[in-house]
Each structure stands twice: as C-alpha cells, then as structure tokens.
C-alpha cells in the first residue's frame, strides 16, 4: 500500500512540476491591473481598456531587426519600433521619427531633421546617432543579416564598408548633431523615403545593446528598446506577443488601442473557430471558407505586392524556344485561378509588377503600363505549332512547384489548363520550399512556379531581378542586353517620368517580346474583421499589419 501511495504522490508531484513548467500565457489581465493615473486625461467613458486580439500564422523567428527576414517578425517590429518615416494607410511614407527632410537638387543627399521629444521606452532621447549606429551595424559584415543589401545598395560607401574594403568613415551617413542626419545615396531613388520605414532602417541605441550584450539582444521582451506606438510586454516565440500602448511615443494621442495581443495560431480552421468564439478580432480565411462569408459585413480582401509567375528556363528544351514560351504564356486564364481556386482576393496578373505598386503620381505602375498579356488559346496553339515545327518534337515537360497549398493548387490548375487548352500533358514535380529554390538555382527545371514579394514600393524592386550577370537559374537564365540597359539607365535617371518609361519598356520587352515568364496572379488574402475595428491598416509589403492607426468603437 505504501508503494502505491508513493507512486501516486510521485505522479502528483510530477504533474504539479509540469504545470509550473509549461508556461501558460494567461495574458487576460484583470482591469484592475491597468496602470492607474497614467491616462487620467482621457474622458470618463473611455476609461475601459481597449483590447484587440489578433493572431499570427507562425512562430516569431527573430526580433533582431538587423538579422530578421520574415514578414511576421517585421510586423511585430513595425508596431513597437519606428523609422524616420512610417507608411500611412495609402502606403505613402509620412514623417515619423523625422519631422522633415531636405532633398538636394541632384536627388542624392537627404538631410533628415528629427522630431522634438522622441524618446526610447526607457526615456532616453532618440538621436541621429542612433540611426547611424543601427545602419552601420546592419551593413557591417560581422553583425549584418540577409537584408544588408537593402542599405548598402543605396547608401553611398555602404557596399565598400560591407565588403571590408573601407571603414565606417567612408559610409555617407553623417549625424551632424542630435537632430540632424545627412545621408548620401548612390543614385536617385524616388522610393528612398519609403525605405526608411523598413525594419532594417529602424534606429538602435548603442548604450542599451552594450548593456544587454550582443548575444542577448532581442531575445526577450525586456531586451529591446522601443520607440514605436506600442511596447512589447510579453514575448514568446511559440505563443506570440503582448503589446501595450507606448507612453513615451511622440504621437500617443493618436494611438487609440491600449493593448494588443498577437498570438500564434498555425491552423487556419482553429483561427476561424476562435474568431467565431469572439477570441480573435480579425482572422484570415482559407479559400474554401470564403464563399460562406462573402456576403458578411465583416468580410474583406486585401492584395499584396506579391507577384506569382511561371518562370520558363531559357536554357532547357523546349523553353529555349521563343514560340513555345509564348504558347505556354497564353494557354491559361489566371482569372479562373483567382476566382474559383484561390478565391481569396488574389488578382489575376496580366503583367509582372504587382497591382498597387507605385507608378506615376496618383496612378499605379500597372495602370500606366496596362495589361501586357491576355489568354488566347488559338494564338497559343499557333505559337505551339510554330514552335514544334522549329524544334521537331515536344519533350516531356515538368512543372516545378513548392509544396505549400497555394503553389500546389496553382500547379494543378496549370496542368489542367495546358491539357485542356493546348493539349499538352505536363507532369508536376513538387519539392519542399528550399528544394524548389535549389533546383531552380541549379537550372534543373523546365518551368517553375515562382513568386516575389516586394521590399519597397517601386517597380524597380522586381524588375531588377533579371539583370544578374551571369544570368541566374532562379530567374530562368533570362539574359537580354536591351533589358539590362533599360534597368541600369532607369537606376541613373533623375527625371521621374523618363525613369518610369524605361521601367515600363523593360517590363514590356521581357513579357511581350521575349516571353521570359508567364504572369499568374498577385497574392491576396480574404479576412473577417469585427465591425468595431476601424482604420485597420495593412501594408502590401514588408510589415503587413500596422496597428498605429487602429481605433476601436
């Protein structure tokens, strides 16, 4: 009997140990705990805390702004940090840490004037030196991450510094005084102000990082200094983060929400259940659920700057033949794909640069350059016949795709369209995420389903991918001197209109004349959002959710 008692108590002990070790998040704080007296200025009715509950689709890999590369981390960072500029609801950069900027006549020198009263969450002022420190850190070979190029591609002297050929003094970042930051860039880049809103451009406080230690920085909520609209109170990579309104934020009057929780929920169906149970205020829908909610007032869609396209490999038969490429380009209707299969707000693509990407003032690039391609099965068959006459016989064709649902569905769709519309049997080869990239890098593919998400709001972002020298397998080994000329000239052009024209010509050349790839669609997302959430801003690139403007009714 004693033995059994011992066993039972051992189990009980183990269970209680486990319970203490398993870290329930328990973020539902009582209202009593809310700091009193801080926000006494608010009127009596709004005394109740405004709390918003959102979900993240995956773990948070890394909140070190210099190293991180993924959208989830960017999203979290963008709400607790702030760069010189911040994107507004129309994705236009608006002054944030900077109050204003002077741009020189040659469009190469930017002099930022920092705002008064901007502070870190520990009360220290944010200075021009903080920006300089952060940017140098992001470009130094020892401390930088994969996004170092988003700085050194633009900032004069950055590349030499990154390569170790020059020291920090050669980099054209000059903190003239506490409030003035002067930056020289390599070539006129009309999107540079937008770049300063990107996470890698956020400031960092050197003193704080030295105190915390390089290897401990950003691993915990209290190992980051914040200067954004919110501060992070809890951080667990597998569970999510809790944010609270930042009392030190310069624009705190315009931040309406007191607390935000962003919790990791990987299963979409679970997120939907949580939304219906009232535990989440906004949720992204799986395409199979869209039809049932389409008429709901809470339903909405958003489109991102993510272009999906069918990349032909110009070095491999049969796609080394122009006519064959053109045949496959015209042989599918992306509208069916976006309407019936993806069904999530994605837009059919008739060009490469995503809908919504900035073009001429007020107009998007897509609007000014128009539809470059339209499905036409008869023409496709003509091209195919011509192509076959030239090469003799069509070899067996494989379409390479990653193994996520969207990519696989797209491949299945293309397979059926090629069969139906031009009578060509195509096999699908599914590879895991990096497997597809590896195969494409090694040029071991005929055509592959690819995508590119923009890092900044300009057509240059995606169009400059095809000027690699030597040509890259990942970009289908497409190589055209004429195309390179357009892109390089556009990079040096100071006149905005001329620059735009060059980029437009480049896109036309690549798609219409060279048939380098087949545009598929611009990725979208369908969501449900509780009706009391207003001004919920999402950006189509970089950090997707911007909670600064959010209000709760």
């Amino acid at each position: 009997m004693k033995k059994k008692l011992g066993l039972v108590s051992a189990i009980v002990l183990m269970l209680s140990l486990l319970l203490s070790a398993c870290g329930f998040s328990n973020s539902k704080t009582d209202e009593k705990e809310a700091p009193e007296g801080v926000e006494k200025t608010e009127s009596q009715e709004t005394k109740k805390e405004k709390v918003v509950n959102l979900s993240l689709a995956n773990d948070i890999p890394d909140l070190n702004q210099v190293l991180t590369t993924d959208g989830i981390s960017f999203t979290v960072l963008n709400n607790v940090m702030e760069g010189l500029y911040r994107l507004d609801e129309n994705n236009e950069p608006q002054p944030a840490m900077a109050e204003s900027v002077d741009i020189s006549e040659d469009k190469l020198t930017y002099t930022f004037h920092l705002r008064d009263g901007i502070k870190w969450s520990n009360g220290d002022p944010v200075t021009a030196e903080d920006f300089k420190y952060s940017w140098l850190r992001a470009m130094h070979a020892d401390t930088s991450g994969a996004y170092a190029d988003i700085l050194y591609n633009y900032i004069a002297g950055g590349e030499e510094f990154f390569e170790g050929e020059a020291d920090a003094s050669a980099v054209a970042i000059d903190a003239k005084d506490e409030k003035t930051l002067e930056v020289k860039i390599k070539s006129p880049s009309p999107f540079f102000l937008g770049l300063t809103a990107f996470a890698t451009y956020f400031p960092l406080n050197e003193k704080f990082i030295t105190e915390i230690g390089d290897d401990k920085f950003a691993l915990k909520a209290d190992a980051i200094l914040y200067n954004g609209p919110y501060v992070m109170t809890e951080y667990n990579q597998a569970q999510g983060v809790s944010l609270e309104k930042n009392p030190e934020y310069w624009d705190k009057e315009n931040v309406d929400v007191d607390k935000v929780s962003l919790k990791v929920i990987k299963e979409q169906s679970t997120a939907l259940n949580l939304y219906e149970a009232g535990e989440l205020d906004r949720v992204y829908l799986a395409s199979s659920d869209v039809d049932s909610y389409r008429d709901s007032a809470e339903f909405g869609t958003e489109t991102e700057f993510i272009s999906w396209f069918l990349q032909f490999n110009h070095n491999t038969a049969p796609f080394d033949n122009l006519n064959i490429r053109k045949a496959f380009q015209l042989a599918f209707d992306p509208q069916i794909l976006t309407k019936t299969i993806l069904n999530n707000g994605s837009e059919p693509a008739y060009g490469l640069v995503a809908a919504g990407v900035h073009g001429d003032d007020g107009k998007t690039f897509r609007e000014v350059n128009g539809d470059l391609i339209q499905p036409d099965y008869d023409k496709a068959k003509e091209f195919l016949a011509k192509g076959i006459a030239e090469i003799g016989k069509l070899p067996s064709i494989e379409i390479l795709t990653a193994d996520d649902t969207i990519a696989k569905d797209t491949a299945t769709f293309l397979q059926s369209e090629f069969k139906k519309n031009i009578g060509v049997d195509v096999q699908i080869s599914t590879k895991p995420y990096s497997g597809r990239l590896d195969a494409m890098r090694a040029s071991e593919f005929q055509m592959g389903i690819s995508k590119w998400g923009a890092d900044y709001n300009d057509a240059m972002d995606i169009l400059s991918l095809w000027i690699g020298d030597p040509p890259k397998g990942l970009r289908g080994n497409y190589s055209s001197e004429e195309y390179k000329q357009y892109i390089n000239d556009a990079g040096d052009e100071k006149d905005v209109a001329k620059r735009l024209q060059m980029l437009m010509d480049a896109e036309k050349l690549m798609i219409q004349e060279d048939g380098a790839l087949g545009p598929l669609y611009f990725e979208g997302k369908a969501f449900l959002q509780k009706s009391n959430l207003k001004n919920f801003v999402t950006h189509p690139y970089g950090a997707s959710i911007d909670l600064k403007f959010l209000t709760l009714e």
Binding site: S287, S288, I336, T340, I341, D403, F413, Q415, I428, S429
Partner: protein, 313 residues
C-alpha cells in the same frame, strides 16, 4: 442406487439395450478429418462473426476501389472550374472538390492508392523482417548479437525524423513514402520472427524431426515456417492499418503524394481544410479510412485468436 436396483428387478430383456458410449474398436479411430494447422485456423476464424464480417467488408471495399472509378464516368484528375465545391448529387455522387473534380472517383482512387501503399509496405516489411529475423535466429551466436545491436540502433532513431528527412530528400511519391515507412517498419517483424524461431529451435518436435534425419531445408519449410506463419500474418494485419495511418499523417503535414494523385491521407487533409463549410469532403474519406482500420483490426484480432491453439475449445 436403490432406483437402479428396482429397475434391475423389473423384467427388461437385454436386447432392449445398446451401448451408447465409446466402443472399444472405435477408441483409436480419428473421428475428425485430418486437417492442417492453417485449415484448422480457418475453421476457427469462420466462427468469429466479427472477423468474417470484416473480411467481407474489406473484400467489398477493395472490389469497389477497383470498379468504382469506371462507374462514375469521371477521372480522378479531370477538372471542371464551373462545378467546384458541389454537394453530393446524382451527377457527382460524393460531390466535387475545389477543382471541380469528382469526389467519388477520387475517394476510391485514393482508397486504391492507400491500400496499395499499405500492402506494399506490409509486403516489404514481411520480406525484410522475416529474412533478417530468421537469419539472426538460425545462425545465433555472434551473428545474432551483431544483428540485434543493429536493430537496437534503428529502434532508437525517432522514425518520424527519418521518414520526414527521406521524403524531403527523395522525390515525393508512392515509392518514397513506402520506402520511408519500411525503413524502420520491418524491425517489429524481424524481432517477432526471431523470437518465435528461437522458441521453436529447441523444442522436442524439431528435435524429433532432426533425429529422424530431416534436412535443414525440411526443418525450415515444414516446421519453422508453418509455426511462425500465424504470427507473421497477424503482424501483417496490424502493419497494414498502421501504414494507412502513417501515410495519412504524412499527407496531413504536407508530405504526401504528387497532385493530381490522391490517397486517403491527401483527401482527408484537403477535406480537413474545407471541413467548416464542405464537411462532405472530409466525411467520406474519413469514413472509409475508419472502416478500413476497424476491419483490418478486427480481422487481425480474429486471426490471432484463430492461430492460437489455446483458444481451441
């Protein structure tokens, strides 16, 4: 006793009586026809209603899986973008999926592929496991020791890691999934066979056979194998549903077959994602996988009882 005495006193002639018990001449006779162990097991299995019912259902499912795709007039890969997500109807008996493909055809096609994978995996388990196990047991000594160490290492590797790694490295498909499952799956079979042969190796009937001059081949073929057959068949019956489940799990975490091929696992995964609003997409493949699991398990249970001579009554 007094009663019988009374009767004896009564006047009954002997001829009115006949012996009802065992006659001396018949006591050495074999009353039942001589049957082999397999046949005997079959007779006992036949008495197990659940097992027989399972067997019938399984055969039925397999037959439908072969015939069904021809009945509907659709193929498992034909898409129809005007008819996506249709509820079951006369036109599409089990509805259509997000590509407008006929779900009836896909479900049975999937059943066929899942069964194929399961049988293939079970067969490979059998071939490797029986070979390895019997060599290990028959040679014994050092050979056995080395072979057992190897098994111990193999068992220690978390098989999920091996399976996922293999699928990521090799070209995904029926064969890859099967190989990945067999790679660690045969171990159970090998262990069982080894233990069984060890058990029989030194038993009297083997010794008797040996002393009567039986060759090694005869020993293996007519004594070892028939005696281990039961355990082999039972283990296979448990391997098949396990393989179906593993395949379903792999598909569920996105490491399944190539489109447009479907297995039950792929279908359940697709159905799971659409279950909120198109429950029928999950329901039918799930029902079939449950039916398969139930039947294989009941049959295996029945077989175990049937092969166990102690269950004879």
């Amino acid at each position: 006793m007094s009663d019988s005495k009374k009767l004896e006193n009564d006047d009954f002639p002997d001829k009115l009586f006949q012996v009802v018990g065992r006659k001396q001449s018949e006591s050495e006779l074999i009353s039942r026809p001589s049957i082999s162990a397999l046949k005997d097991s079959w007779i006992r299995l036949r008495k197990n209603k659940a097992a027989i019912l399972s067997l019938v259902i399984l055969v039925l499912i397999m037959l439908i899986a072969i015939i069904a795709p021809f009945l509907s007039g659709y193929t498992y890969y034909d898409t129809d973008y005007d008819k996506t997500f249709q509820k079951p109807s006369a036109e599409h008996w089990l509805g259509t999926d997000k590509f407008g493909r006929d779900q009836w055809t896909r479900v049975w096609e999937g059943t066929r592929i899942s069964l194929f994978i399961a049988f293939l995996a079970a067969f490979l388990d059998l071939a490797i496991g029986v070979g390895y196990g019997s060599i290990s047991a028959l040679y014994g000594g050092k050979v056995d020791n080395i072979m057992q160490r190897f098994i111990e290492i193999l068992v220690g590797i978390p098989n999920l890691i091996v399976v996922i790694l293999l699928i990521m490295i090799m070209k995904p498909g029926i064969l890859t999934i099967t190989i990945a499952m067999v790679l660690t799956g045969w171990v159970t079979m090998a262990r069982l066979v080894r233990a069984q042969i060890f058990k029989y190796k030194n038993q009297e009937f083997i010794l008797a056979s040996k002393s009567l001059g039986a060759s090694n081949k005869r020993l293996i073929m007519s004594h070892m194998i028939p005696n281990t057959l039961g355990i082999i068949i039972i283990n296979m019956m448990f391997t098949i549903p396990a393989a179906i489940f593993t395949e379903a799990f792999l598909s569920f975490i996105g490491l399944g077959l190539q489109e447009p091929l479907a297995s039950l696992g792929v279908l359940i995964n697709d159905g799971f994602q659409a279950m909120r609003n198109h429950f029928y997409l999950l329901l039918y493949p799930a029902l079939i996988i449950i039916a398969l699991m139930v039947c294989f398990n009941s049959l295996a249970d029945g077989l175990r009882d049937a092969f166990d001579p102690r269950m004879r009554k």
